[in-house]
Symmetry: C2
Subunit: 220 residues, 2 copies
């Protein structure tokens, strides 16, 4: 995959708890320079990022209930709605992993649906299911529930629990319809990893070391 | 320190993202059996924990903006207020670590103050400053800001970034007044660690392996 194709499906990401405004500005400038499809920053940095990216085609995103997901749905929904107000058009929310583990599937689905409803039409919702904590069967179930709840992407993980692997991406891709996106995130640091995850079915990648991935990608 | 003294200052904790209702019930039952001073669970599990602990003297707590802290203050405050409504009398919030790192001290302090105001009188607010990400000078500054903002405890970390160490507890204790509490949390798994942290100035400990700590404590 060529660099100019790859760059468009990478979410250039900075969601470290200790991220500063200066680092956020730099990440946005890198996105402008290289043409990343999307920039993801912490909720507290959205206004700053929106200002730096203003007038560009780069999409802006943030997180909701990140990275634990064990928050009340009402709070995740409020956080997502506030993010949209601050300029976000993509929300990477964390699903209720405990609900999934205990088989409370209706709760898991309602949690996602509440965020989808709160952000309204035109905003992309990606749902992190934290694969490193799940069995393969739970991953498949989660993917189906995410789709049924009206979200747009199912996403492998936060990166805090472990890295993205092709086998997880395959499971997610196999259990959702063609219109659904599959985002791989967590520990993606090389072009080779990126290509393997895309081959497995990922339609979007999240990375904090996107420049390194790009540097390794062929330009033609 | 005797077991019956130690048990009262331990926050028996289950805040894993994948924690289930069954595990929450067990943790609450352990607290009832052993007499822990406080139980801390995820926001989504507060109602269940309140039900199990009903009628006991055990305090119930939860988190806000956990474990990233990079959320809007408004969202942390709403999460904390919702928690109090669901039965929490202790809130372990995560401070705005990025604000601290970049020197936005007023923002850091206002963020804490907004949560303190939202929960109202009688609710204990502990502020996690995530020591593993901070210099010693930043830890000292953070402790002072937490106290100035009206919170009741300054807390070493979430556990996600690294463990609690006596030297950090000493810095925090040295930089707050006698009325302020100092909570150590993260990787505390033995009686020996517990005693060292208390000797360094900790007045509260958080642990997910509290039973093991207790088992090693002398009964007389």
């Amino acid at each position: 995959m060529r660099r100019d194709e790859l760059v468009r499906i990478i979410d250039h990401t900075l969601v470290h708890p200790a991220a500063t405004q200066r680092q956020v500005t730099r990440v946005c400038e890198e996105a402008l320079e290289h043409g990343f499809g999307c920039v993801i920053v912490n909720p507290v940095h959205l206004s700053l990022a929106a200002e730096v990216l203003k007038g560009s085609p780069i999409r802006l995103g943030t997180t909701a209930g990140f990275p634990s997901g064990a928050n009340l749905s009402e709070i995740k929904a409020r956080e997502a709605a506030a993010a949209v107000k601050a300029g976000a058009v993509e929300i990477d929310m964390v699903g209720s992993i405990g609900a999934l583990k205990e088989g409370s599937y209706l709760d898991f689905r309602k949690d996602v649906a509440e965020v989808v409803r709160a952000v309204g039409q035109g905003v992309v919702v990606k749902v992190i299911i934290e694969c490193p904590y799940l069995t393969d069967e739970e991953k498949a179930t989660a993917a189906k529930l995410v789709e049924a709840a009206g979200a747009h992407f199912v996403k492998t993980g936060t990166g805090f629990a472990g890295g993205a692997v092709p086998s997880d991406v395959e499971i997610l891709a196999r259990n959702v319809g063609k219109a659904m996106g599959v985002k791989a995130a967590g520990g993606i640091r090389s072009y080779r990893q990126a290509v393997e995850l895309i081959a497995a079915g990922a339609t979007r990648l999240g990375s904090s070391t996107s420049l390194q991935i790009l540097a390794e990608a062929p330009s033609v």
